[in-house]
Subunit: 240 residues, 2 copies
Amino acid sequence: MTPPDGSGAAFSPTPRSQVRRRPQRAAYDEATVFGILDAGIMAHVGYVIDGQPFVTPTAYWREGRKLYWHGAAASRMLNTVGDGAPVCVTVSFLDGFVVGRSGITHSLNYRSVMAFGRARLTNDLTVKRAAMDAFIDRLYAGRPVKLRPTTDEELTRIALVEMEIEEASAKVKDTGVTELAADDGWAAWFGVFPVETRIGAALPDPRAGCAPTADLSPYAEGRRLDEALAAAAYGLPVST
Amino acid sequence: MTPPDGSGAAFSPTPRSQVRRRPQRAAYDEATVFGILDAGIMAHVGYVIDGQPFVTPTAYWREGRKLYWHGAAASRMLNTVGDGAPVCVTVSFLDGFVVGRSGITHSLNYRSVMAFGRARLTNDLTVKRAAMDAFIDRLYAGRPVKLRPTTDEELTRIALVEMEIEEASAKVKDTGVTELAADDGWAAWFGVFPVETRIGAALPDPRAGCAPTADLSPYAEGRRLDEALAAAAYGLPVST
């Protein structure tokens, strides 16, 4: 996968994806939207069964303007959304706690993307095999060839969903405390607590006969997960 | 707020919340469900407008079997869900990457809760003031009295949503690699990369005239966020 190319390409919002609250925090360009999507691994997929909304956390990956996720062939979620039903895929990162001197100036810093489209199940085994290898390779570049090959029977038990992103919006809040005039002089501490998600120390399986190989190098202990995932997606080195 | 009381109380799953995939990972008891909810701060709220699902990330808190969240009074999400529409509130934590010796044994470790109910907007200013103070107090015990009091005008601009949890299910995966017989002998490294979300160094506003006070003590640099949030909710000390 390559990073967003800086071409300035953008999604065109309709009322479905237009950000109404705090539009100054919104973005629709591919660089921002893809930058957030490529830094994540777990999405929250929203879908509807008989009027009831469901939100399922699931691993995903992006290629171009398509999102992919997968699961068991018997999954209710996948069988529901896989026939072209409308879905909303949301990816978010909590980046900090904003602590003010009045209740209303307390908030969170975050990055998020809402992507809308229609999901399609793919049954072709060749397509599924290539997609599953692409997912592994997106996370752990060069790893698929080191693995015991996936069997047709295993592929049959996997449901693969592909969603063309019809529209998407990003929303980013990365600020300090927005003080109000009335807060002036109150003695409470105010500021921001950042929050970071990082990789811990690798836990080798006792039967693993070798050290982690280069495909696993983005996930070094102490690295930020969002940076590691983006670096792995783009084949870039990760700064510590 | 008090921790789940160990009474063994549990939600009764219907087909809406019954976990079908990997039911051995599912739980419906309050101790497990509330334990996950109380360790989080950002939920993904799913709702439906004209058949289209939306998933909005939002800050939330729990009291008993009720979930609360809030936002701008003009918010589409809140005005849509606030009239008793069905919603699904999902909270999830990514805990690790499971790296196997075949594609199908790669997975993620996680904890998640899906909670179902009907959301109601509350317009009573007294109720809203108490709820917003409760939210600040749940995060930062003792802080509300230190803050510039919230005005009626500010409360009017806030929409407060209350949702009675009708049913909820938790799903937890916390395993090593589930090796298959066919994977035996393949030379690839296999094991788990844990993932942790921790508090960073506090960033005081330059105008803050004091050091962080006791209400902020759960959020000490380097502490796990999930443990800090649970400790703050229950008034417990946080282990480092």
